[in-house]
């Protein structure tokens, strides 16, 4: 309303105003209007950008700062070099750690996605005894952080390591196994909510068309839930990529470490903490997450079910 009133007053100004002064008034008010409607967003955006980019700049700067200390780091390093990266690649098993991290994160993300989607589908579509109890149970279990059970888990894996060393301590498989169970609860709930929004008519229609359960699940339902698959996959990839506590308990041999555990080793020593090398490693670890985000971005848009049933 105020805009129209202002426009009306501007029109009056130009029609009645004599020459120059009328123009000045109009330009002034139009510019004020622009700032109120659009301009302030730019200011907020710039502040937010600065706020977000500052820590990243700092890590980048530390990575390229050959002195390897945080206190000597400035936002623009004085004599930038790849010295930290050289040290990282030559004196540590960084690539090995990185590969371990990727293997564990990718596999546990993919497998947990598969398991949780199947569980969510069952909870969403079928009515069976213990359905409600089952859902509450996994929610309840999820309320406690996994490392509360670290003692129990440790004891279990001591036994496993003795009996089946292939999936025991210092193997990526032990961690994958653990993370699969750990992520199940939240993912199942998240996905179940999304599955519930897919009309049941679609399942039934496919059923009448002659599709089997598997054909309905893989051919009809999964393509419609890609947004939630992308989100949960991404979240579980990121969380395993940066998981530290359990990994540090499970992986003690240098060659079995994940990037998080390995990098921590670089700064954990009191005397020769090398933050430059750490920052260099952290930068590299961030790359797959950023790439994955870019790649999955287009799936995380939703609205894919629009037009399924009347609309």
């Amino acid at each position: 309303m105020s805009t129209e009133a202002m426009l009306a007053s501007e029109l009056r100004d130009t029609s009645h105003g004599s020459g120059q002064s009328g123009h000045v008034v109009r330009l002034g008010s139009a510019r004020g209007n622009w700032f109120r409607r659009v301009g302030w967003r730019h200011v907020v955006g710039v502040i937010a950008l600065f706020f977000a980019i500052f820590p990243i700049l700092f890590v980048v700067s530390a990575a390229f700062n050959p002195q390897g200390t945080l206190s000597s780091s400035t936002l623009i390093p004085r004599d930038a070099s790849f010295a930290n990266f050289d040290t990282l690649f030559s004196e540590t098993s960084f690539w090995r750690w990185f590969a371990n991290s990727l293997l564990i994160s990718l596999l546990s993300a993919a497998l947990s996605l598969f398991i949780s989607a199947a569980a969510a589908y069952a909870f969403s579509r079928y009515r069976f005894r213990g359905r409600r109890a089952g859902m509450l149970f996994i929610l309840l279990v999820q309320m406690f952080p996994q490392f509360l059970a670290i003692v129990a888990i440790y004891l279990i894996f001591v036994e496993i390591s003795e009996l089946y060393p292939a999936i025991g301590f210092n193997t990526p498989w032990s961690l994958i196994l653990l993370f699969l169970g750990g992520a199940l609860g939240v993912n199942t709930w998240l996905m179940k909510g999304f599955f519930d929004t897919i009309p049941k008519d679609l399942d039934e229609s496919a059923k009448v068309d002659g599709a089997t359960h598997a054909q309905i699940y893989f051919g009809i339902i999964l393509p419609l839930v890609t947004p939630i698959l992308a989100i949960t996959g991404l979240l579980s990839f990121i969380s395993t990529m940066s998981e530290f506590i359990i990994s540090s308990v499970f992986l003690t041999e240098d060659s079995a470490k994940t990037a998080a555990v390995g990098l921590y080793g670089l700064i954990s020593a009191q005397r020769n903490a090398n933050f430059g090398v750490f920052a260099a490693g952290a930068l590299i670890v961030a790359i797959p997450i950023v790439v994955l985000f870019q790649f999955l971005q287009r799936y995380i848009v939703g609205g894919i079910t629009a037009g399924a049933v009347k609309g």
């Binding site: 009309p199 008519d201 229609s205 059923k207 009448v208 068309d209 002659g210 054909q215 419609l224 009347k310």
Partner: protein, 398 residues
């Protein structure tokens, strides 16, 4: 092509709710049978049992000669059109239509051929590469039909397929579905709550209420010979007028005391309803269709006083071809379980309107010039009166 036979089919849910009671139905080969009833009457459940989406509690269900009680939907060779259309949003129109064939691993060129033929029949040709969300409601409805057609199934099942369309499109699609079914000659079970759809589309209509089959028959037969008050009130628009009357001796024969007036039950009434003699001095529920009443003013000769009712016009609706006149008669309304079910279905809560008796609706010839507030004489075609037992709701037979 096949017959569908339901023999004493029951559906009782685990929580004890009895949705369908002893349903006996036989749908002939190529027949279009409409299952109609108020919402929640179990008609959709019955359809879903035929489809195999609901288990059958007891009874026998046959498609053709096969007992299908325990067969999965895919083994029954049926196609279903859902109220919501249930199109797969991530597939194009062509993929949607061909999905059932692809699942059956049919040859790709054959799928193409059938999809294109169905698309041509439904005028969907230019839409084949679009996604469902790019289509209008009517087009989505056609895709859903196409999906059923290409399968060339033994039976079509349709669950209120038109209720999501606007009124004009509904009339058009009604004709199209009827035409397609006639051309393909596929046995069809069609569920609706709209009695107009039932009347216009069905070869036969089955009226169901609270899970119990009330009557099955050709639409016109149901309209002319309703088995009970519920069918009488449900079939036909406007619904049949009903009021309580009393059979009395009148002159040489019988009469119907209807409010303050008496209608002579002449000639054919007594031969058509010989049992009326047993109802003398007992209350009966009387039904009059709106078209069986006429404004006495438009008749050439004066009507005998014992063939007319008198009322004050409450409302008129001129439709051009007829004038629909609403008026209150000084007769008590018929109140039993069936009329309550009807009132519930129409969503009517018109106790206030009926305070002066019972509201009747009549269709007069357009030359009638009645106005709101006029005192009118209404001639009743007594030969077409319907008589019901007010307790059981059943029509008086014999």
């Amino acid at each position: 092509m096949a017959t569908v036979t339901l023999d004493k089919v029951n559906k009782q849910y685990e929580n004890g709710y009895h949705a369908v009671h002893d349903l006996d139905l036989e749908i002939a080969d190529g027949e279009f049978l409409v299952l109609v009833g108020p919402s929640g009457c179990g008609k959709s459940t019955a359809l879903r049992m035929v489809a195999g989406l609901e288990d059958i509690s007891t009874g026998v269900m046959k498609i053709g000669d096969r007992v299908v009680n325990t067969l999965s939907p895919r083994e029954r060779d049926i196609a279903m059109v859902f109220q919501s259309y249930a199109l797969y949003p991530h597939m194009t129109v062509a993929e949607n239509i061909g999905y059932g064939l692809k699942i059956r691993r049919m040859d790709k060129t054959e799928i193409r051929r059938r999809v294109e033929r169905a698309a041509e029949m439904l005028e969907l040709g230019p839409m084949l590469d679009r996604k469902p969300k790019q289509l209008s409601g009517g087009q989505r409805q056609r895709v859903a039909m196409g999906r059923a057609i290409v399968r060339e199934p033994q039976v079509f099942l349709m669950d209120e397929p038109l209720s999501n369309l606007d009124a004009k499109l509904r009339v058009q699609m009604r004709a199209e579905i009827g035409q397609i079914q006639h051309d393909l000659n596929v046995t069809t079970l069609y569920v609706t709550h709209d009695q107009i759809e039932a009347m216009t589309m069905g070869d036969r209509v089955a009226v169901i209420k609270s899970g119990i089959l009330q009557q099955v028959g050709a639409p016109q037969y149901l309209y002319d010979n309703p088995a009970n008050l519920f069918v009488a009130g449900f079939i036909g628009s406007p619904p049949m007028n009903m009021g309580m009357g009393r059979i009395i001796r009148h002159g040489e024969g019988l009469g119907l005391r209807f409010g303050s007036r008496t209608l002579a039950l002449t000639g054919s009434v007594l031969t058509d309803h010989p049992s009326l003699g047993q109802w003398v001095d007992r209350p009966v529920a009387v039904g009059i269709r709106s078209e069986d009443m006429e404004d006495a003013g438009v008749l050439r000769e004066a009507a005998a006083p014992d063939s007319t009712l008198v009322a004050t016009v409450g409302l008129t609706e001129a439709l051009g071809s007829e004038i629909v006149v609403h008026f209150d008669l000084d007769v008590p309304p018929v109140e039993n379980e069936e009329t309550r079910a009807l009132a519930e279905d129409s969503g009517a809560d018109d106790t206030g309107l009926r305070s002066n008796g019972t509201r009747f609706v009549a269709s007069f010839a357009p030359r009638s010039r009645v106005r709101i507030g006029d005192q009118i004489e209404v001639v009743v075609d007594v030969a077409r009166l319907h008589f019901f037992d007010p307790d059981s709701g059943l029509t008086l037979k014999g």
